[in-house]
């Protein structure tokens, strides 16, 4: 029996891991915003639902399918570049999300407890994206 598909390339693996990190990170920073909807249940349900979808997508086959789709349309070098782009985008978004409440703390404004979870979610998301970015940059380039 022959495999219908060859082993994924290094660039494809990089893109896949970066996409997984971006999706997981987005779910992590999005979920705490359900706590600052001031009791608007529709808002809570939408935000939590979206966060759940993102987390599930991060562990599903979607990132590998997306990476394969990109690999068929891009060169290996481009794929490696786009993987760095994904991680940088995820990192930038997470830092911005954490920074919004953090500037209030820096200015001495007392923080409602829910915003601490937003800062925490943003920080964890930034860390995940940073680790994947460093690993992808350090990984041996593809042929």
């Amino acid at each position: 029996m022959t495999s219908s598909r060859t082993e994924p390339s290094v660039g494809e693996k990089k893109a896949e891991s970066a996409l997984r990190a971006v999706l997981l990170g987005a779910g992590l920073w999005l979920a705490p915003f359900s706590l600052v909807q001031n009791g608007a249940w529709a808002g809570v349900v939408v935000v939590l639902g979206l966060a759940l979808v993102l987390v599930i997508a991060s562990v599903s086959r979607f990132p590998s399918a997306a990476a394969l789709w990109m690999a068929r349309r891009s060169s290996e070098r481009h794929l490696a570049f786009w993987s760095v782009w994904f991680s940088c985008g995820g990192l930038l978004t997470s830092v911005l999300v954490a920074a919004l409440p953090a500037v209030g703390i820096a200015a001495g404004i007392p923080v409602p407890w829910a915003f601490w979870t937003v800062i925490g979610g943003g920080a964890v998301s930034a860390l995940i994206n940073l680790v994947v970015l460093v690993r992808n940059i350090a990984a041996k380039p593809g042929p």
Binding site: M70, R73, G89, T93, G104, A107, G108, P110, F115, V118
Partner: protein, 233 residues
Amino acid sequence: MARPGRQSLFSCFLALAVLLSGCGEVSFTPHVTPLVVGTAQPQVTWGTVAATPGAPVVTPVADDFDSSDALELCGEDLRWGDVITGMCLAPGGAEYYVWTSPDDVAIVDADLTDPRLLGFLQSAIALQAAGDRFWRGVGTNWWRVGLFGVTFVGLPVACIGGGPVGCLIDGAAVLVSGGLVYDLGASLVDDIDAYTSSYRVAHYYFCLLQGGSDAPCRESSGMTQEDLSLDQQ
């Protein structure tokens, strides 16, 4: 059948005639209740407090009593500012708890004719409003950052799947959402400025309440003329 233009002209003249005929017949009996001007409340004006330095009206409280304890005693209604800088009406209604740091709570007689206390109250209200605006801004406009993230991270997908057109459209979306994030940041910075400004003004009035005079209190609080104008907005 009359033409619509002539009908309109006729209606217009008729209306004018009715109006003019009514002008001379209007009898108007004024019924005005005499205006009673009450005693004006004392106004806090920049510089007037300094001209009349008062005796200290502040009584320190026990060391282990902090602003959270004060807020708990006061209840939910008559409180202004926050746990760091604020005041609230003590049980019984004869005194206010006033603080400019959580551990530095003092008791002041509930006399809002004292411009120093009134000034502190105004700055505490302004401070609370600025803080609330800040958190409301973060809590309701965070989606701008999310939109920026989606458009930014999605650029490779748009370029590969949509070609140059997809690239251009997503690039434009990145710029627009980036502008929205910038706008949010600028608005939050304004709120922070208003908060810190009210914080300095509150410190100034607290210093005056402790018996300090204008110049040293301005210096110790770091308050500027601009702070007062921001605080009054």
